[in-house]
Every structure is written in C-alpha cells, then in structure tokens.
C-alpha cells in the first residue's frame, strides 16, 4: 500500500519537474551524454536526468567517517561493462553500528555492499576500483584471502536462500568449511548457539534434521542469518533482508538486527524508510551511483541536508 502511494506521488512529482525543467534540461542532457550511461541518456525521463545532474554536481553531505571504523572505503568506483554503477563513494562502517543504505532502485546500494566482501568478483563484467580497508588491511589486495574475507564479512540476501539440506546442516555448513569445530560436540554447540542468537531455536529445536527449505519465509531468513553468524563474522551485510517477508516476520528480523548490533557491525540495504528509521543509527542515501548524504538517522529523516534526500525521504520520488 505504502509503496503504491509513494509511486503515485512520484509520478505527479515527475510531471511537475518535467514542466519546470523544460528545455534547458534537454540541452544539458545532450552535453552530459558522453560521460553518462547511454541507456539512461536515451530515456525520455528528463526529470530524472535533471536530478542526476544535480547529484553529479554535489559532494556527499554529512560526515562519512565513523569514530571506530571496521571498514573504510575511499574513492570507490564500479563498472558493469560500460555502465558506471558507483562513482567516488567514501564511507566508513563503524564497530557495532547499524548503517542503513537507502535510495531508489538501481542507485548502487547493493553493488556497494557486494564490494565489501568481494561478491562482485563472481560477476564477469564487474570492475571495481578504489581503496577498501578492513582494520587497515586492503580488501582488494592481491594477497587477501577472499575466502577468509567472506567469512569475516557475512552476507544475508534478499530472498531467503537456505541450502536444500537439513536445518542443522545449513548452520553447520560454514563452521565445517572453515574447520571451526574440532568434534561433533563443538559443532553442536556452534549450531545451537547460532540458532539461539538468530531467535530460531525454540521453533526448530525439535526438528533440526528436517530440510531448511520446509520452513516459512521468515524462518528461512532467520536460518540464513544463523548460518551467517555461525562463522563469527565481524560485519554482516544485509541486502534487503525483509523485502520478501510479511510484516510480522519483518518485525522479528528487525528485533534480531537490534540484538545483533551489540556484537556485529551491520550494513543493511532497504527500500523501507520506516525500517531504516527503526533499525539504524546512521543512514546513507544513494542516488544514481553517488552517495548523496550520510548522517545520523534522525538527522537524515528529520532534517536532511540535501534536496534529493529530502525529496526521497518525504516520498516525492522513489
């Protein structure tokens, strides 16, 4: 419902902007076409192109550094083939903080977090540049062990993706891979405590041998979170973890994120601004490959420093 309303509003806002921006936008559009994505340039959505120009001119508003950073990113650029997906992103992720990444579809939020555990390596056409450091070590250094990195920077995906194995085996998968348990008893302990911390233990303790795919959507997503924390990561990246879930399951996951933030740094991509406001301490607003604004969540939602952010959080487009 809410989303539909936002879309309806954005349509009218777009029309208004189109009427305002009129001719000059068209001309500027032509000038910019050399360094803009061709597909975007060809789209007749003048209003958006106009906003893009605005974003391009802007520096990131707010403070992108964190007091006690786990991960620091400077000058991050990503290309998918010819498409320039992320432009000059600087952002820190601090210890034990939840940072929400918001922005319209296709703005590069998911691309950004996939850089942090090098999941973009699996995409043939993706190219990444910039300086990524975790505790001062270069993430993209030739000597970095990608496998270890992904164990330290866990990831929860948009659609729950439990393996077609039993609940127990799903959680035990990571610890087994990395040899975290010396014997069955230790493995049991890891699995049980991970399920407890993911708030799933009471629901599944009697059926650990049943397939993980038989759980409900919300339970599957918590199973995926349990699976992720079983390898004791420092950072958990969440790519729209609730977008496939109903409101009750969503509320449970949000509670869980709140609890987990005591031990982990969490970066969560979300399309729900209410969710960002509820769970995060800082919020970063992305727009067409740029980081427009990053600041304390309260500030971003009540007193945004950039017009684009304001338009987005007040639902004028999205």
């Amino acid at each position: 419902m809410a989303k539909a309303a936002i879309m309806a509003r954005s349509a009218t806002a777009g029309d208004g902007a189109l009427a305002d921006a009129g001719g000059p936008a068209l001309r500027d559009d032509k000038d910019n076409s050399s360094n803009m994505n061709r597909r975007e340039a060809r789209q007749p959505r003048i209003a958006i192109a106009d906003l893009a120009r605005e974003a391009e001119a802007a520096q990131t508003v707010g403070d992108f550094t964190a007091t006690d950073p786990v991960i620091t990113v400077r000058g991050c650029n990503v290309w998918y083939g010819e498409t320039h997906a992320l432009r000059d992103i600087n952002l820190d992720i601090g210890r034990n903080e939840v940072i929400a990444l918001i922005g319209p579809s296709g703005c590069g939020k998911s691309t950004f977090i996939r850089c942090l555990n090098r999941m973009n390596d699996t995409i043939e056409t993706a190219r990444v540049s910039g300086e990524f450091r975790m505790h001062g070590e270069d993430i993209y250094d030739r000597k970095t062990d990608v496998v270890l990195l992904r164990a330290r920077v866990g990831m929860v995906f948009q659609k729950p993706n439990p393996f077609p194995k039993s609940i127990y085996e799903n959680v035990a998968y990571g610890p087994r891979l990395h040899g975290l348990a010396a014997n069955r008893a230790e493995l049991d302990e890891i699995v049980h405590s991970s399920l407890r911390r993911a708030g799933l233990w009471d629901e599944v303790k009697d059926r650990l041998e049943e397939p993980g795919t038989g759980l409900s959507g919300g339970q599957q997503q918590r199973l995926c979170i349990a699976r992720t924390i079983a390898v004791s990561p420092e950072v958990i990246l969440m790519d729209e973890p609730c977008s496939a879930l109903d409101p009750i399951a969503t509320a449970r996951i949000e509670d869980l994120i709140d609890e987990l933030s005591q031990n982990y740094a969490i970066a969560i991509v979300t399309h729900s601004m209410q969710q960002a406001a509820r769970v995060s301490r800082r919020t970063a607003y992305f727009h067409l490959g740029r980081l427009v604004e990053v600041d304390a969540t309260d500030k971003v939602f009540t007193n945004p420093g950039h017009k684009l952010t304001e338009d987005y959080v007040t639902g004028r487009f999205g």
């Binding site: 999941m119 699996t122 496998v147 866990g154 993706n161 393996f163 077609p164 891979l177 795919t213 992720t228």
Partner: protein, 462 residues
C-alpha cells in the same frame, strides 16, 4: 476412375469451395453492412465450406478402403462352385490369393488358372464397379456438403469457432497416432513373444545359463540342440552398459560442471555445439571406430602387458558406447546444474566457500536428482544401443564378467536371429521377439523411473 484422379478432383473441389465460400461471405456481408457484420473473417467461411466439402468424402474413403475389399471377396467366394466354397479356412484364403493373382496378371499354376478364370473376372468387375461407386459417392458428398454450407452461410454463423473445433480434432488425432502405433508395436512383439513362450518356458528363458539358438531343421542334424537361456545376453548387456556408464558418467558430469560453472562464454559457445555434433554422429560410424580402431588398439595394448584381449571385446564396445553417451549425459546434467538457483551459489560463496567447495557441497547435491534422472535415461540408451555392439562386441554368448572377453548383447542377438532366411514359426526366430519384449520392458521401466525422479526434482525449485 483412377485413384489419383479422384484425389485430384477432391482437392480441386475443396479449393473451389474455399474460394466460393469466402466470396459468398463477402457478398452476404456487403448486403448487411460490411465485413464488420460477419461473426468471423471471410476466410473462415471459406475454410468452413472447404471442410464441409472434403471431410465427409474423406471419411467415406477411409471406410471404403477398410471394408470394400472384404465385401468384394465375400461375393466372389459365394460365386465359387460348392466344393471349393466348402474348403477349410486356410485353403480358402489361398484360393482367394490365387484369384487376386490371376486378376493382377501374375503367374499362377495353369490348371488352377482355368478353374478360377470366371471368379477372377468377377473379382475384377466387382472391383471396378466398387471404385466407380466410390468416386461417384465422394463427388456427390462433396457437392452436398458444399451446398449445405452454402445454405447455412449467414453473418451469425460462427464459422471461426467451427473451424477451430475441427482443427482441434485434427490435432488430437495426430497426437494419438503415435500412441496407437506404439501400442501396435508392443502388441505385435507381445503376441510373437507369447508364441515363443508356448515352446520354451518363461523360467528357462529368463534364468537359463546357455544361449545357443540354432535349432535343427532335420532330426539327423547335430550340434543344434537349441538352448534359450538368456542370462548370458543379459549379463553381456549389463557388462557393456556398465563399462559405457563408467566412461560416460564421470566425463559427462565433469564436462557439464566445467561448461556451466567455469567456462567463459566464448569457450561455451564453441564446446557446446561441438558436443552436439558428437551426439549427431551416426552409431554405425561409432561402430567402425570401435571395431577398426579401438579394438586393435586395446588388443595391442593388452599384448604389451601380457594380457589376452579378444579382438571383439566388451571393453572396446563399452568404451566407444560410453563416448557416444557423453554428450547425452553432459547436456542433461548441464541443464540441471544451470537450473540450480544462483542464490544457492551466492549463499555458499558468501559464507566463504571456494568455488569448488560450492560446487561439491551445494550445487551437485542440489542437482543430484536431475543428474540421476539423466544417468538413468543414458543407461536405457546404452541398453538399447545396437550398431556399436553388433560391430564390436561379437556374437559369442559367454557368461563372463571379464571385460577383455567377447560377449554378446540382447540387441546383437535380435539382429542375428532376424537377419537372413527365416521361418517365422521356429523357436529361433520367435526368440527375437521375446528378447525384444524384455528390452522394451526394461527400458520402459528405466524411463519411467528417470522421468519420475526428474519431475520430483523440478518441483523442488519451481
């Protein structure tokens, strides 16, 4: 009238009906406010008229072809002298054959020729009038059908829906044709096999250990006792299929994993078509390859190791058959591996698994049912494969598990039993049908199991 002329006339009438029906539809439409007033487009009225014209005639033609000859023969037999008419069934049918041969102008014993001349003449004239009646009726039905459609043609006539339903019936008939043919094949094999089991007990056939199908034509012949224990054939088939699968399954699976998980798009664009070419090589060519290249190689290699390899060994045939099946296994496995959702791989990679660990622990287990299904289909191909084993596996029905010896398979024996001059009521020939039945049942069961497995696998992700 010749049959071809009749068909030509029917086609011409049908085309004319189409044109006239269409024109009339346009004319009728003109009277009541243009084509928009018609229920259907004018061409559908044309189709409707054409169907009304041709279909009754075609139905009659089919019926006539089935029944006319029987009626004519009955009339001819009735006209024969009483002593010929009273002959037993088998001899009477011989007599009818003679009459037909005389009518067709073929050579018949001169004595008989005189005796049956009258009957042959009657047969010819009856045939002729039958054909003339048929032609007349078909043309008449064509006119009646067309006239009916002409009278019924009004703007409200739902010609489009009528044509649709006729088309549907036509499609349904086409699809059942293959099924009925299969049923016919099974029935013919089954009945011949039952005749075989009248002579040789089923238990002896299924569990006997000696296969020597040469039966004596005369009582004083030696060395042709005729033993129909098919176990050596089953064992040979199983051995060769096993060798083939040992080659095809790992290589095919590894090919599929490489192609779907590791190969770049350019490599895939080259290798996949190349594999499909391999699948398109006629099995006879594989047969040459097995008999002329692989078998001597194996023999030479065996000699250098001090092993005695038969020049027609199970190993040679099995290896080549395995190579033949590789594309089969790899393309089926490739499909199921590609069907494993990318989210599974991402989940595993995101937990810090390497690419090969992901394949081993997530992708292959997830794809396993599909791979098993594909392998079972490949086995049923191996069991039914004929040309390679005919050329490379030999004829000796040895009961052995030694792959270096010659063995024979069910398909090879079917071929040898039915090649050459045969009497179709000896146990030797009928044995081929019993073997065919076994082959059919086994491959059918394998296919059913495989399809079941594959189907259950599909449900898991959709």
């Amino acid at each position: 009238m010749q049959f071809e002329t009749l068909l030509l006339i029917l086609v011409a009438m049908t085309v004319a009906s189409f044109v006239l029906g269409r024109q009339r539809a346009v004319a009728v439409a003109g009277r009541c406010g243009g084509i928009r007033a018609l229920h259907s487009l004018p061409k559908y009225y044309g189709y409707y008229a054409a169907i009304c014209c041709a279909l009754p005639g075609l139905a009659l033609l089919l019926l006539w072809l089935g029944l006319a000859d029987r009626v004519v023969v009955e009339r001819v037999v009735d006209s024969l002298p009483a002593e010929l008419r009273e002959l037993p069934e088998a001899q009477r049918s011989l007599l009818v054959n003679d009459i037909k041969n005389i009518a067709a102008g073929q050579f018949v014993d001169p004595g008989k020729r005189e005796e049956l001349a009258v009957a042959a003449e009657l047969y010819l004239s009856l045939k002729d009038s039958s054909r003339r009646i048929l032609s007349g009726l078909i043309v008449l039905l064509g006119f009646v059908g067309f006239g009916w459609s002409w009278l019924r043609l009004r703007p409200e006539l739902r010609a489009r829906n009528r044509v649709e339903s006729v088309a549907r019936i036509g499609l349904a008939l086409a699809s059942t044709l293959a099924i009925f043919t299969t049923i016919g094949i099974v029935a013919s094999v089954l009945f011949e096999a039952l005749r075989f089991f009248d002579r040789i007990p089923v238990s002896e056939f299924l569990f006997g250990l000696t296969w020597s199908p040469q039966t004596a034509l005369r009582a004083d012949q030696v060395g042709s006792s005729g033993a129909f224990g098919a176990v050596p054939l089953f064992a040979g088939t199983a051995l060769i299929s096993l060798i083939a699968m040992t080659v095809a399954l790992p290589i095919g699976l590894m090919t599929a994993i490489y192609l779907s998980e590791y190969a770049s798009r350019r490599v895939r664009a080259w290798v996949k078509p190349a594999l499909e070419v391999l699948a398109g090589v006629p099995t006879v060519v594989y047969g040459y390859f097995a008999a002329l290249t692989v078998a001597p190689l194996l023999r030479g290699f065996g000699q250098s190791l001090g092993l005695d390899v038969a020049s027609e060994s199970a190993l040679g045939a099995g290896l080549v058959m395995g190579i033949m099946i590789i594309p089969f296994v790899s393309s089926l496995s490739d499909d199921v591996i590609n069907a494993v959702p990318q989210a599974m791989r991402d989940g595993s990679l995101g937990l810090g698994a390497t690419h090969s660990e992901t394949i081993k622990r997530v992708v292959i287990p997830a794809a396993l049912p599909g791979i098993v299904g594909g392998a079972l289909l490949a086995v049923s191909r191996a069991i039914g494969e004929t040309m390679i084993v005919v050329m490379a596996a030999g004829l000796a029905a040895n009961l052995t598990v030694n792959p270096l010896e010659a063995v024979t398979t069910v398909t090879v024996q079917i071929v040898t039993l039915l090649v050459g001059d045969q009497e179709f009521d000896s146990a030797k020939t009928l044995a081929a049908f019993a073997l065919g039945l076994v082959l059919f049942v086994v491959t059918l069961l394998l296919n059913i199991i495989a399809l079941q497995v594959v189907r259950r696998y599909r449900e898991q992700y959709e």
